[in-house]
Amino acid sequence: MSRQVLAGLLGGVLLVTAAGCGIPGQTEVRVEGPGPAAETGTSSGGRSEPPSRTAADSREEFVDNFLAAAAGEPGGAYDRVSEFVVPEDRARLPRKEGSEVALTVVRLLAEPVIVPGPEEIQVTLTVQQVGQLTADGVLAPPEATPATYEFGLRPYAPEGGDDIEWYVTNPPNVLLLNVEALQEYYKSRTIYYWSSDRLRLVPDQRYLALAVPEDRLVSEVVRWLVGGHSAWLKRAISGLPDGTNLINNATRTDDRWEVNLDMAGADSTRLNLLATQLVWSLPELTGQLELKIRNQSQVTIKDVGEHRRLNPVYRVDTIPQPFCVYEGAIRSLGPTAAPMTTAENHKVLSAGISYSGQRTLAALAVEAGDGRQRLAVEAGSAPLTSFTASQETFQTVGRPVWLRSAHPQQPVGLVAADDRLYRFDEAAKLEPVQLSLGGVTAVAGSLDGHRLAIVSDGELYLAAVSHDGDTLAVGPPRRTHTSLSGLTAVDWYGENSLVVAGSKGGKRVLYEVDVDGSRETKLHVTGAVVTHLAAYPAHPEAPYGIVMYEANDVAYQGFPFERITPDQVRDLAPNDAQTSDPSAPFLLF
C-alpha cells in the first residue's frame, strides 16, 4: 500500500516539476504602486492668439482680424483662416501641411476700401508684398506679386442675437498676414549660425508665434537651428551636418535643459560650437545646458550666462568714438584723437575707420584733383603715417567701409564708387565686386562681417558675403521691401535692423527697418537728402545704437538728433578756418 502512496507522490512531483514552474501565460493585474503625480504647471498656456471670426464689431475690425487670422502656429493657420471663409469658398484657400505652410505677409499701403454692394460687401486691399513667412519662422522674399487683393464680405445674423457677423467670400488663394499682425502675434528672434569659416556667429532673424508656450521655446529654436538657415545667408554660413535632428523635445529638469540630437559625425568641437550657437540663440536661457547625441551626454555647459560671457558674439568696443571731417581733415568729436598723423590728414572727403584687433584700418575718400576722387588706405598701429592712394580715380567715392572680417591680417574694405561696388585691400588695390546690381550708391557691413546692406538705384538689398582672406564671395542680393523710396544711405543699426535714409510721403526721413522689411520705425525727418549715414549697431552687449548723418552739408548725431557744431570738434588745428560745418560724421569702433 505504501508503494501506491509512493508512486502517487512521485507522479505528482514529476507533474508539478514539468508543468508547475514555467512562466505563467496569464496573471492577474498586479498593482505596483501609485503613479507619478502631476507637477503643477509653471507657465500658463494659451498666450495671445488672433481674435476669432465673431470677435469683430465692425467691418473694418473684421477685415483686420481676417488679416491677422493666420497668425499662430503654422499647423493651424489654414483652419484659423478658413473659419473666416464661407464654407463653399474654403476650397480656394491653399491647404498645405507641415513645413509647406507659408503665410503671405503684406503691408497695407492704405486703409482697406470697403464698398457695400447689393449682396456682398466688396473689400479691396492695396498692399506691398513683404515676404513669405514659412513654417520655420523665416520671412522669405515674397513670391506673390499682386498689389491689390479683393474679396467679399457676407453679413450673417445668427439666430437669437443682435450682433451681425461676417464671412469672407471669394477669398484670395493665399493665407494673408498683415505686418502689424506679424508684430503683434509673433516675436522676432535672432538665432545664430556659424559663418562658413566657423569663426563668427551670423544672426538669422526668425519669427516665433506668441501662441507657442515658453516651455517649447528651446525645442523650437533647436529645430530652427537644425532645420537650416535663411536661404539668402547661404553664402556666409556653414550649417549643421545633414540629417541632424532634434530627438523629441528639449526638456527641462529643474534648472537644466537637455537637448537630445541625432547628429552624424558629432565631435566635441562641433558640439561646443553648437552649444555656443544655442546659448546665443536663446538669450533667455539660464542655468545648465546639456547636449546629448542619441541620448549620450556629450557636452554640458554648467552656466549658460558664463558661457555667453566667455564667448561673446562680437568683439567690438561698446562705446564708439565719434569723428567727423572738418576742413578736409578727420577730427574727433570725442576724447580719442584722430588715429593718423596730421601730414596725412588732409583733403579728406569721408572716411571709414575701424579697429581690427590691435590694428587700425583706415580708408579715406580723398580729393585727387581735377574734381576727381580716389581712395587712400592704411592699416597698422595708430597713428597711421603713410596712406596708400588708389590708382583709379572716380567721379564720386562713397564712404568706404571695412568688412569686419575674422582675418585681421588681410583686411577687406568695400566702397561704392561711380555706382559700382568695389573691394579694396590695405594696398588700396581696387577690384570691382561681381554683383547683379547696378547703381550702387551705398554699402554697409554688419558687425559679423558676413552680411552687406547695399543701396542700389534707391532700393535696399541684402547680401551674404564670405571672406576667407583671399577671395571675397558675395551671394545673390535679396531685396528688402520697405515702404521708403529713393534710398540714399544705409548702415546697420542692430543685428537684424538697418537704418536707411530715403523718402516717404514726399518727406526725407530716417527709418529703422528690419533686414526682412517687416518692421519699419521712423527715426527722424531729415528734411534734406542724407548724403552720409553712419551708425553703431545695437548688439547683445550694447542695447542702443547710435546714428550720425550728414544732410545738406550739415552733420547730425542722435538721439535726439542735433546738429554737430564746429565747437564740438576737438583738436582743431590753428589754421582751421572754422567757417564750415563738420561733415561726413562716422563712428570708430
Partner: protein, 583 residues
C-alpha cells in the same frame, strides 16, 4: 505490444466494438499478468525491492529539489525582467511626462508628433530595433483627441493590454500583468507594465510590453536540464542500489544454492571465498559448517555401514556353527524318547529355541540385504486371492490355538497385480500373524480391495489397539509395545520392519491405525503395475466402525478434518465417498 493483440478485422469480420472489447480484454489480461509478475518480483527479489524503494525515495527527493530549483530559476528570471521593465517604465514615464508636459492642451501643434517621437524614443529608436519590446502610449481618458501610438507600430496591441490593466492604470496606479498574445506570427508571453503619465491637461498611460521569449526559453532550458539531471541522478541511484544489492545478494544466493545442494546430499559443495569481508566470513563459516557436517555425516554413514556389515557378517558367521548345532540338536531331539524326561524336555526346549534362532538369523539376513541394497523385486502378475487364502491356511492352527476366527472379505473374482508373491505373502503372513497374536480372542478381519491403479489388503484386529503415536513406532526394529509383556509366538521384532521394506520395494505403502481398546488395522497398498506411483488406496486405513471422540460421522459416513475458525481444525462428517484420498 498491444498492437499484436489487435484482431485482424479482415478475418474476424466482427464489428469494431467487438475488436475493441477484445483488445481491451487483451490489454487487461496483459496488465494483470504484468501486475502479477511485478508482484512476484517484488516478493521474490530483495534486489527488486531495494531498487524500487531507492528509485521511489530518490525520485521524491530529486523531484522536490528539481521543482525548487526550476521554480527559483523561473522566479529569478521573471524578477529580473520585472525589475528591468520597471526601471525602464519609471524612466520612460518620467521622460514622457517631461516631453508631454511642454504642452498645455493636446490640440497643440506637434503634440501628436511628440507622442510619436516619445514612443519611438522609448522603444529604443527606429523600427529596425528587433528587441521585440513594444512601447504604447494611450490616452484612455482622452480618447479621440489623442491617437494611441506604439513603437514599433502594431495594430492589435489592445489585445495584449487587458481591460483590467487599462482600468487600473487609468485610475492612476502603476500596474503589471503577464499575458499571452500574438503580435507577430506566434503566440508570445508578454510582460506588460503600465504607468500613468501626468500632463498639464490630464493623464495619458504609458505601457511597456516586453516579450518573455528569452526568459521562457531560458526557464525551459533550465527546467529541462534540471529534470534531465534529476532523472539521470535517479537512474544512477537506482543502478547504484542495484549494484550494491547485487554485491550483497549474489553471495547470499550462492550460499542458498550451496545450502540447497548440501541438503540434497552433495556434501562436497563449497562456497567461493573472495576477500576478507563479511561475506567472505559468511562463506568461510558456511564452508566450515559444511565440512563439519560432511565429516559427521560420513562418520555416521561409516558407522552405520560398519554396523550393517557387522550384522550381516555376524549372521553369516553364526549360520555355519548353527547348522552344526542344528544337526546335533536334531539328532538329540530324534533320540529324546530314550532319555529321562528331564533331558527329553531340555532337548525339546533346545529344538524350539534353535527354531527361533534360525528364524532370527533369517530375518537379520533379510534386513541386511535391504540395508545393503541387495534386495531385488521379482515382480510378476499374481492373483492375490490365493495368496490370502494360503496365508490364512498356514496360520489356521495358530488361530485355532488362541481361539481367534479369521474373517475374509474378498472380491468375487481374481485380483491381479504385478507383485513379488513371495514378499507379499511374507508381509501378509506377518500382518495376519500379528493380528491373530494380538487379537485377544476376538475375530480378525481381512479385506482385499482393488481399483484401476492399486490393490490393498487391510488386516483388522480388535485387541488392545495402539496408543497415539505408536502407528509409526511399530515399524521400528525390535520395538515392542509393552516390553514386559509375555511373548507368545516368540516373534523376532523385525517382522514389521521387513514388511515395510518389502512394501517400499514395491513402491507401496504399509500403514497402521490403532486406538486403545478398539484394536488396530494395518493396510498394505501396492500399485497394480510395478513401478507405478501410488496416489490413493482402494481401502480405508481407519475402519468404518470406529468410535470417534466427537460422536463420529453419520451412520457409515466418513469423517472429514478441515480448517475451522480462528486457525483451529474442525472435525466433522465428510461427504460419503467410497474411497479415501491420501494427501
Amino acid at each position: 505490444m498491444a498492437n499484436s493483440l489487435v484482431p485482424d478485422s479482415t478475418t474476424n469480420g466482427s464489428p469494431r466494438r467487438l475488436g475493441a472489447g477484445e483488445l481491451w480484454r487483451a490489454v487487461g489480461g496483459w496488465g494483470a499478468r504484468l501486475v502479477a509478475g511485478l508482484h512476484q518480483g517484488w516478493r521474490r527479489s530483495l534486489q527488486v525491492r531495494v531498487v524500487t524503494i531507492t528509485l521511489l525515495a530518490s525520485s521524491l527527493l530529486v523531484g522536490g529539489f528539481a521543482y525548487l530549483i526550476a521554480d527559483k530559476i523561473t522566479s529569478i528570471l521573471l524578477e529580473n525582467a520585472e525589475a528591468d521593465v520597471q526601471d525602464r517604465l519609471n524612466s520612460g514615464a518620467a521622460y514622457a511626462a517631461k516631453q508631454l508636459g511642454l504642452y498645455h492642451k493636446p490640440e497643440e501643434a506637434q503634440f501628436q508628433e511628440t507622442v510619436d517621437g516619445t514612443v519611438n524614443y522609448l522603444a529604443g529608436g527606429g523600427p529596425q530595433q528587433a528587441t521585440g519590446v513594444v512601447v504604447a502610449l494611450i490616452a484612455d481618458n482622452a480618447e479621440g483627441v489623442i491617437q494611441p501610438r506604439t513603437a514599433p507600430a502594431v495594430d492589435n496591441f489592445g489585445s495584449l493590454i487587458s481591460p483590467e490593466l487599462r482600468a487600473t492604470v487609468a485610475a492612476g496606479e502603476v500596474a503589471s500583468q503577464i499575458s499571452t498574445g500574438r503580435l507577430g506570427e506566434t503566440d508570445t508571453k508578454y510582460l506588460t507594465y503600465g504607468s500613468p503619465v501626468p500632463t498639464q491637461f490630464g493623464q495619458v498611460e504609458l505601457y511597456y510590453l516586453v516579450p518573455l521569449t528569452r526568459q521562457d526559453a531560458t526557464a525551459a532550458d533550465a527546467r529541462a536540464t534540471v529534470v534531465g539531471t534529476g532523472i539521470a541522478l535517479v537512474v544512477l541511484l537506482g543502478l547504484l542500489a542495484a549494484l550494491v544489492t547485487r554485491l550483497v545478494v549474489l553471495p547470499v544466493r550462492v550460499a542458498a544454492r550451496t545450502a540447497q545442494r548440501l541438503s540434497a546430499g552433495l556434501l562436497d559443495q563449497r562456497m567461493a571465498v573472495n576477500g576478507e569481508d563479511d561475506l567472505a566470513l559468511l562463506a568461510e563459516s558456511f564452508n566450515q559448517m559444511a565440512t563439519n557436517l560432511q565429516r559427521q555425516i560420513l562418520r555416521l554413514e561409516e558407522m552405520s555401514r560398519l554396523q550393517r556389515r557387522f550384522t550381516s557378517d555376524v549372521s553369516h558367521e553364526l549360520r555355519t556353527p548353527l547348522t552344526t548345532v542344528r544337526m546335533a540338536a536334531d539328532l538329540i531331539f530324534a533320540e529324546r524318547d530314550e532319555f529321562d524326561p528331564a533331558v527329553a524336555r531340555s532337548a525339546e526346549l533346545l529344538q524350539t529355541e534353535l527354531d527361533r534362532f534360525e528364524e532370527l538369523l533369517t530375518d537379520l539376513l533379510e534386513i541386511s540385504r535391504f540395508d545393503a541394497g541387495f534386495a531385488a523385486l521379482d515382480a510378476e502378475p499374481t492373483d492375490l486371492v490365493p495368496v490370502v487364502h494360503r496365508v490364512v491356511g498356514r496360520l489356521a492352527c495358530l488361530a485355532e490355538r488362541v481361539g481367534v476366527t479369521v474373517e475374509l472379505d474378498l472380491p468375487g473374482g481374481p485380483v491381479i497385480a504385478e507383485v513379488d508373491p513371495r514378499r507379499v505373502e511374507r508381509v501378509l503372513r506377518n500382518l495376519v500373524g500379528n493380528a491373530v497374536e494380538h487379537g485377544e480372542g476376538r475375530p480378525v478381519h481381512i479385506t482385499l480391495g482393488a481399483d484401476e491403479t492399486a490393490v490393498a489388503v487391510t488386516v483388522r484386529d480388535r485387541g488392545l489397539g495402539l496408543k497415539p503415536g505408536e502407528e509409526k513406532l511399530i515399524f521400528n526394529r525390535f520395538w515392542r509395545a509393552d516390553p514386559s509383556r509375555a511373548r507368545q509366538t516368540g516373534g523376532t521384532g523385525l517382522g514389521l520392519s521387513i514388511s515395510l521394506e518389502d512394501a517400499r520395494l514395491h513402491r507401496g505403502w504399509l500403514e497402521a491405525w490403532g486406538a486403545p481398546g478398539q484394536g488396530a488395522q494395518f493396510r498394505l497398498t501396492l500399485p497394480a503395475r510395478a513401478g507405478d506411483r501410488l496416489t490413493s488406496s482402494p481401502l480405508r486405513l481407519v475402519p468404518a466402525d470406529v468410535r470417534l471422540p466427537c460422536g463420529g460421522p453419520r451412520e457409515g459416513g466418513l469423517l472429514a478434518i478441515g480448517p475451522g475458525s480462528a486457525g483451529a481444525l474442525t472435525v466433522g462428517p465428510a461427504p460419503t465417498d467410497g474411497a479415501e484420498a491420501r494427501p
